[in-house]
Every structure is written in C-alpha cells, then in structure tokens.
Amino acid sequence: MVNLIAKSPCHGILPITIGSVTLSEEDVGVIHSVSPYKGQKKALSVAMKSAYGMAYPAANRSAGKAGARIVWFGHAQAMLMGPEPNRELSELAAVVDQTDAWAVVRLEGPAVEDVLARLVPVDLRSTSFKRGHTARTLLFHMSASVTRVGEKAFQIMVFRSMAHTLVHDLKRAMEGVASRS
C-alpha cells in the first residue's frame, strides 16, 4: 500500500521574514464555497448564524476569526473556511469542497500595507480597508482574495497552482520595502 503524504501548497518555501514583514502559510482547515440558491440568501444567513455564529457576508466583507471564517468571494459566492458544512446548508446553497484548490497565506508586520501597495491596485490602508473587509482583486498578475484579519495582518488566497508565483511576488515586494526602510 502506497503511503500518500499530504503537502500544503507552500510546503518548503514558507515561512519567510524580510524586514518587518512575515509571510507564512495558513492552515485554515477545510474550505467550501457557498452559493445561495435563488431566494434562499436570507434563510441561509439565518442557518449559518445559528450553526457557526456568522451570517452570510455582505459584498466586500468577511466575518469570524482564525479557525472559523466566512469570506465574501464574488456575486452569490462566499468561502466558508474551517467548519465542516452541515446538511441544512446544502439544502439552501450549492456547497462545494475547495480545500485543495486554494493557497492561503498570512502577511503580517508593521510595513504590511507598503508591501501590498506595490502589488494590489486597491487602497488597503486601514483608513479605508478595515479589519473584516475583503476584496477580490489582483495581486500583481494574479486573481486573488485579500482580507484584513488583523491590525497589521492580511489573509491572501490565490489558486493553488499559483502558490510559488505568489510567494515569489510577495517576497520581491517585501525585499523592495525592506531595502528602502
């Protein structure tokens, strides 16, 4: 019997710290996309609230904390990260396992906004992008999901196949910011 070993998307290349910023891989557990069926958004929100204490998120918003998070991911789509979805959820929404499809990293440190400002064409400063805010946008040339999860911490998600490119691009921006400080 072959013994298969699970490898995370950024296995062997993270964590790294350059200057004041640290990039590390996040183990968020299982990830499911949740897309409410027509007219079921409200009922889904109520069901999620009672099951996980988090309502279905409004556009550009996320809720929860490490271990159980819901992140808005586009029109009629959110990502449930951490908890296993229950049966009631799949009666109100299309629930699809995405666990192995996404690379999830955490970028943290005093200069984190300067690093992301080099790559992301959205204003991520705390004046306009507060904790719990999320954006589907670009990170350099990649389609990404960027969420502020702490005062100086962001969660970034890209397709798993882009994991090494993500680390390469972030590393280069981190080096650029560090060399100027």
């Binding site: 556009a59 029109h75 064409p121 589907r136 946008t137 670009l138 389609s143």
Partner: protein
C-alpha cells in the same frame, strides 16, 4: 480609466476584460432568419458618444457588467450587473 463594479466598487481598468457591444444580451431566436443573425454577428454601431458595452470583472469578483460610457469624453455614465440589465 476607472470602472465601478456594482459589487466591488470603483476599480482600476486593468481588473476588467472587454467583451464588446452589449448586443449579447439580446441574442435572436434560432429561427430569426439570416438577416437578423447576420446583423447580430457582424454589424456593429461605431458611435461617437454614448455606447453600451459588456465588461467582465476578471481580476475581481467575476461579474459581467454592462457599462454605459461616452467614447468621446471617456466618461462612464452607468454600470449595472448584466443579469439585472437584461431582465
């Protein structure tokens, strides 16, 4: 150029992919006849002024958006989610 996505808010043009005139929303029936289909596939207005186009928020939320803009002033007058613009 900045385009307002109905979901994400105002974003840079680089996040969007351009599809063309918003005629795709009024696709003719299969039996509409050769003339109607010829017009749908090949004939486009080229207005100096207001135009309705389909844009795709590729580097963002993935929504198809109907953008009404002025080709002379580059002003964007209106943006709406394609499924709502159609109904």
């Amino acid at each position: 150029m900045r385009i307002s996505c109905p979901f994400c808010g105002e974003r840079d043009r680089r996040e969007f992919y351009y599809r063309g005139a918003a005629v795709d929303l009024e696709r003719p029936l299969p039996g509409a006849g050769a003339d109607v289909w010829d017009a749908f596939v090949y004939l486009r207005e080229n207005p100096a002024g207001e135009t309705r186009e389909l844009w795709y928020h590729e580097g963002g939320c993935g929504a198809w958006i109907v953008v009404t803009r002025n080709t002379v002033t580059h002003e964007i007058l209106r943006t709406e989610h394609a499924s709502e613009a159609r109904s």
